[in-house]
Subunit: 225 residues, 2 copies
DNA sequence: CACACTTTGTGCGTCGGTTCACAAAGGGAT
DNA sequence: ATCCCTTTGTGAACCGACGCACAAAGTGTG
């Protein structure tokens, strides 16, 4: 029932999208090392996945490999970059310049891909006006103006939990539809808005769960010593 | 291989484990607000999930609800905490005290659950000896000694990418089996070791992908109508 | 040109997770 | 005690993702 004729189907599985950055990173490393061509097997190892999965993932973007040879590193980097939208440059605003916001502002990993930190915004008058990573911290009152003036399309929320929803509502109101949320709250947004959350304490709790099982699970019933 | 007889089956689905911290956070908020009892519907909304999913998740830990009434908040907090292993206290070491490591050391969210930052470790002599968040930064040479002396069981890697694998190997060698990795590399570890990774730039790339589709998709696509 | 070898792209069985929908179970009122 | 209302716990259908295994497609050699 679907249009099977389309060679480059836009319906890329979410799981695949989440892995493309991984492949991209591995490919960049190979390109730097001068590798011209790579097999799915080698790339899969470098990215830490199964080679069949990798081939299936890449097949979603098109037929960019050569049977008997492998993938052209340079070309694949370009194709994945294009698919992820990294050929354009994305203006990112970081709201909340506490410890985490500061760290993010200085984080090189953002810039290295197509991302540019275009604004730092905070509510604390103590911080507003400071220079961090070569950027002037602006006041939260200017939020809407700054976002529009700088063409910000992705907002990183690094505010305290209590402020996150309010800031979120405001950035959504000015038309931002992509948010990376570090605040430990469930944001409520219209369906058209994408929110990804990173919660450091959740990651630790998941580790703790498995660690506990390893320690007490297999044969040791009770650790009541 | 399975033990189907156990009433409290330890085989909790991974997806469920990942959501338990979410429920726990919501429940803590409710407990603070004095709510004694909560329905799956209300809790689901607070945690941002579907209520059927929530009930199924909770059913994996046992039958802790009362039909017609809901769940006792206090009791559920205890049960989930116990299941996640948060009733004990976990000593965490942060290796790599750059911008990110510093932010993590100061992050309140760790301590608020059962986690305690027990050590900060870095290789840079410029940083070693500094006091950060009330902790003395120790030299990487002391890595093994510190981990064992402080009973560290979870290590957070916030080193540069180039150093991550080497540090990882060393902490695994001293018996650490839970690692939270912020370095943008694929760590190779024995199967018995749990690694969770947080990659900020990957999150942004996923957002960019969807943002690009939103921008270019609906309007630019060939549409007959 | 034919044959051997390599590696991609994918059909298909399988599995884990999500959601629906409902029977079972409890509370409260009369 | 009986009836009605609420809410849990779960059977079962559905859906997406994973990975095996192989045909298809390319390279290279004699």
């Amino acid at each position: 029932m679907k249009s099977p004729s389309h060679p480059r189907d836009r319906g890329i599985p979410e799981a695949t999208v989440a892995r493309l950055p991984l492949y991209l990173r591995a490919l960049h490393g190979m390109a730097e090392r001068g590798t011209a061509t790579v097999s799915s097997e080698d790339l899969a190892v470098a990215a830490g996945v199964n080679s069949a999965k990798l081939r299936k993932d890449l097949s979603h973007l098109g037929s960019y490999g050569t049977r008997g040879v492998g993938y052209d590193v340079e070309y694949l980097v370009y194709q994945i970059s294009r698919e992820l939208g990294l050929t354009q440059d994305w203006a990112v605003a970081i709201v909340g310049v506490g410890n985490l916001g500061r760290a993010l502002a200085n984080y090189g990993g953002f810039v290295s891909r197509g991302f540019r930190v275009a604004a730092l915004i905070d509510a604390d008058p103590e911080v507003v006006g400071d220079d961090i990573a070569g950027l002037n911290v602006e006041h939260i009152d200017e939020l809407e103006a700054v976002i529009q003036r700088r063409g910000v399309s992705i907002v990183v929320l690094a505010t305290p939990a209590a402020a996150a929803q309010k800031v979120c509502d405001r950035v959504v109101a000015v038309g931002v539809t992509s948010i990376l949320n570090f605040a430990p709250v469930v944001l409520s947004v219209p369906e058209s808005v994408d929110v990804r959350k990173v919660d450091l304490s959740i990651e630790l709790q998941i580790l703790a769960f498995h660690e506990q099982r390893k320690a007490g699970g297999p044969l040791m019933a009770v650790d009541s010593q």
